[in-house]
Amino acid sequence: MRKQIIISLLGLTMLSNASEFYYSNGKKVELTEVKINQTIKNRMVKSKIVKSRTKYYKTATGKRVGVRDDILVECVEGKDCQKVLSKYETREVSQLSDSIYIIKISSDKNLFEFAQKLYSDSDIKIAHPNLRKIKNRR
């Protein structure tokens, strides 16, 4: 019984990790969450150092990215993106530029799975989390 529970938990963990990727330029970008001790994070949030709702990840090449609950989407040229996105259960859809939209999803939905689902839509060209990245001054 105990073994079964452990295997189930491992399986759930693997499944959970397996969903943490997005597509960039047609390729999967796998992510590993950067765990931050909650006590420390709370103090950092209080000190306005980090955002409480941003989750941090590392890519396979070591790049660090942060995500929240928003996704950037661009539809295939000629498609009415508002209409395309209306098929999905979003909390909010806003237009950022002529072609790029930002959508917000509810907290009970998995951000990465939602982005993957959008990306698999033949009417959608780009769908990835609104990524927070380190901008280095040069």
Binding site: T61, E74, E92, I126, N136
Partner: protein
């Protein structure tokens, strides 16, 4: 105290290591006399984050333990988390968002982003410093001779190295290290063109910038307040539009006007917002002296859209002296729709720190403050500026280096190309810049192929005089 010093040193070392590994901030103005603590204070917010975190870690560990070795172990436990977190510092967006939309939970407000952009004037800060003005009513009548008479023109080897008196001061400057700007100035000085710099803000009161600062916009907050004591964005803007006003330096395109956009937020959405603002407000050239080495698809799409709308975007290639063709690197400066700019130095060859690769297009002076003197740019005003270690200029100016400054110097040339040919396309701009470039480094290891491309030096160093003349020739009726 001993422990704390050790931790601080350890973190600062970590910062330096991280810098060496991929985020060297050569934008720091040269200040060889400054202490390490001053450097940290003056450097960017990521480094401020390290210092704040160090305080928190020390406070926490010293409250838990009294034994030195235990405190040290406790601090060690913090280190990786601090590194991971601070490298992703993403500003104080929560608080700015609250100020704007009264909503402390949502990144995207109930107002849509586009309306927000349209209505940004409704959110003006009380500290608003610059209002949009008409750039056609304030064109300077200054001449080339006036430009050459600017007090520090004699140190501006990037503009006119044969005129530089730095050699007589003991600094080695190759007579051909400049960009031949005076030939371009005989045709135009950038009249009628708006150039945007997307960076960390500017000192809007600077004596050698404010006349040409047309519009300011804070993409992080939606306000017009971009005032900062950090000098990076200020320096970038000055290399492009520092006016001919009898003070300090002169920009490459001193009669163009500046749209200075502050962007510190790390998200793709805010970056798009900054570009959209520049487009909407008439920028024909956008200069960016930053990068992620990991450009998102949405940003590439935005850059294509900007390109298609006739705007030329330039990105600095970065300061690690590395090939951007390495696996896993996908930098903004390599995007097809932008001009990627590396740095040349006082010796008229590529600098040792300049990143390079098959998708970098051009070099422009960025200087080398370590082995030579660097390029002279704006610093913050007065006491906020660095003391000049050379004894040549006052505190409002400083010698600096980095591809950060090669990009705006090139942007200044591009502004002049638009000035003589307002309908020139970004494709034509790139073709002209690369085809008129000077093939430098031939006496060194340069090996330009049949297309005129060298692995490290791209198509060579920009030649402002030739580029502007050719842009004028190609003007369509």
């Amino acid at each position: 105290m001993k422990n704390r010093t050790a931790t601080t040193l350890s973190l600062v070392t970590a910062i330096l290591l991280l810098n060496a590994c991929g985020s060297v901030d050569n934008s720091s103005l040269v200040d060889k006399n400054s202490s390490s603590s001053t450097r940290v204070q003056r450097d960017n917010k990521i480094e401020q984050c390290f210092v704040k975190m160090d305080d928190i870690a020390f406070e926490d560990c010293s409250s838990k333990y009294s034994d030195d070795s235990k405190i040290n172990s406790c601090l060690d436990g913090y280190e990786e988390q601090i590194l991971d977190t601070c490298m992703l510092y993403d500003g104080e967006e929560d608080y700015n968002q609250n100020d704007l939309v009264g909503d402390n939970t949502d990144m995207v407000s109930d107002n849509d982003w586009w309306n927000w952009l349209e209505e940004e004037s409704a959110f003006d800060d009380k500290n608003e410093t610059i209002a949009e003005s008409n750039d056609t009513t304030s064109i300077s009548t200054a001449t080339i001779e006036d430009a050459k008479a600017e007090p520090y023109f004699k140190y501006a080897w990037h503009l006119n190295s044969s005129n530089s008196i730095l050699n007589s001061k003991g600094y080695q400057i190759d007579n051909h290290a400049d960009i031949n700007v005076t030939d371009a100035w005989a045709i135009t000085m950038g009249e009628g063109v708006r150039v945007a710099v997307i960076d960390d803000g500017a000192d809007v009161t600077h004596e050698d910038l404010k006349e040409n600062l047309l519009i300011t916009y804070n993409a992080d907050t939606g306000s017009k307040n971009i005032q900062t004591k950090d000098s990076h964005g200020n320096t970038c803007a000055g290399f492009i539009v520092a006016p001919i006003n009898g003070k300090g330096i002169v920009g490459v395109s001193p009669k163009a006007k500046m749209i200075s956009i502050k962007l510190e937020d790390s998200s793709d959405a805010y970056t798009i917002r900054a570009f959209e603002y520049a487009k909407k407000h008439g920028a024909k050239v956008i200069s960016c002296s930053w990068g992620t080495n990991d450009v998102s698809d949405a940003i590439v799409s935005e850059l294509k859209s900007i390109y298609d709308s006739g705007i030329t975007v330039l990105f600095a290639s970065g300061n690690e002296g590395a090939s951007l063709d390495n696996q896993g690197v996908n930098d903004e400066s390599e995007v097809e729709w932008v001009i990627g700019v590396g740095a040349s130095g006082e010796n008229n060859d590529i600098t040792s720190y300049s990143n390079y690769g098959k998708n970098i297009d051009i070099l422009a002076p960025g200087g080398d403050a370590q082995d030579y003197i660097g390029v002279l740019g704006l610093d913050n005003m007065g006491e906020d500026g660095y003391d000049d270690q050379t004894g040549l200029v006052n505190n409002n100016y400083a010698f600096t280096n980095g591809t950060s400054f090669s990009a705006p110097i090139t942007a200044g040339v591009v502004a002049m190309m638009y000035s003589v040919n307002p309908n020139i396309t970004p494709k034509e701009v790139k073709e002209i810049l690369t085809s008129t470039a000077t093939k430098i480094g031939k006496e060194m290891s340069a090996s330009y192929n049949e297309n005129g491309f060298d692995e490290k030096r791209a198509y060579g160093k920009i030649n402002a005089g030739l580029a502007v003349a050719k842009a004028k020739e190609t003007k369509r009726p």
